[in-house]
Symmetry: none
Amino acid sequence: MEEQQVGSLHFQIDFSQPLYEQILDQARSAIAKGEIALGDKMPSVRELAQELRMNPNTVMRAYQELERDGLTEKRRGQGTYVTSSPEHVASFRTALAARYIDSFMEQMESLGFAWEDIEKYIHQKKDTPLGGNGL
Amino acid sequence: MEEQQVGSLHFQIDFSQPLYEQILDQARSAIAKGEIALGDKMPSVRELAQELRMNPNTVMRAYQELERDGLTEKRRGQGTYVTSSPEHVASFRTALAARYIDSFMEQMESLGFAWEDIEKYIHQKKDTPLGGNGL
Amino acid sequence: MEEQQVGSLHFQIDFSQPLYEQILDQARSAIAKGEIALGDKMPSVRELAQELRMNPNTVMRAYQELERDGLTEKRRGQGTYVTSSPEHVASFRTALAARYIDSFMEQMESLGFAWEDIEKYIHQKKDTPLGGNGL
Amino acid sequence: MEEQQVGSLHFQIDFSQPLYEQILDQARSAIAKGEIALGDKMPSVRELAQELRMNPNTVMRAYQELERDGLTEKRRGQGTYVTSSPEHVASFRTALAARYIDSFMEQMESLGFAWEDIEKYIHQKKDTPLGGNGL
DNA sequence: GTGGTCTAGACCACG
DNA sequence: GTGGTCTAGACCACA
């Protein structure tokens, strides 16, 4: 469980998931939450790879995905920049949230939980761990 | 996207995930939802492999995980049976649901959504797909 | 977890071990502890198989082992009898105990525990579960 | 009865038990005893398979169990490493020892030996093999 | 290079 | 018949 600060970005890496995926998720999160400002320069692939002690290919793969997401853009000879379009970020955020929700609902449904069960759980929230009857 | 009925179990297999994982998930689901009754015999490894047109080893791997989950039990020379303990099933179900919920909440949090946002979404849901303002 | 009383013998069978092995172990135990008297008649293979709802072959296999152990003897046309020689039982008991002890010590040694650790544990016995420093 | 040195690990394989189980037991032992240091790299699946002249799948199965025990951790594309958490090792060691002890006590009890008999035996031990009177 | 998944097919123990 | 172990060898994802 490594923790690294690189510019305004903060990374926390372990070995339980693919490394490129962790970079990707955490960069997405930083952009979605505005922890790194629109239009800002991302660390270079090389720099980030060095800081995180990874192979540059691993970082590059994450950066490619970010660009495909529309969250970053490469500028020739200058590096990678966070998009300056708030719309891009917003639409990405809702699209990803939708995917998360769908997949979550599918999982819960496969265990026989209905919307109501989950809703009930959300109302209880952190106060009580999973109870007995249903959820 | 294959669909197969094997005894009281229904399988739908594609190539987007490991095969043994799909068998595992769908068998878990069938047991958790009571689609296959407690104490019932599961299809034999060979039979299921043949029906799903896959290698017996692949099916066996899924069956081993099911047993580790406490959802099934092997009887030498007789076959694989669903546990007859409702407690095992219930505790497995809540434990897995808890994992799903935690991981989902973490994902949503990483996009900057709070409990309230999700709650709000659930209240709208199904009627309206993902909206524009936040979620 | 089935429980069955057959004559003076008591069996408790589950599916976590080979069935013939459970019969064997429990019959050995009954003879070693004198729960069935020297010279007594054992249940017939058929009878025991019926009571335990097993294949007679399974029971037979256990009976063959018992005879190899010198704990029982077949009498033509009469059935299987517990040996009437206390020496046979005693020597079997010590030999088997020796095997158990050797194998146990090997296991504990493989985890880096020495005689002294085990001795210490035995002195504490059931009072305290496994503690922190060493054992 | 093969003997093989692989890195800092020593393996001794025969055909009396499943091969993967022997690898598992001996690797557990090496880790529990500190014969391989915390955080060290294990031999790769392929390397060990080649040295022990067995199929990589067989080695992999043992490695999967080791990871489930919390004794090792896989790092994608890098290899398998011994956990660097002494707590994991310690808790595994005591848990396994407890299982060994319980099962041993049950065996001895089934032969009619009590705690005191075993204690007595331990006090004699090594000097004298199994005696005649009781144990 | 690493581990992970999968297939095809053999042989074994158990009932 | 059941599940369990093992081999040989392919192909994939990740670093």
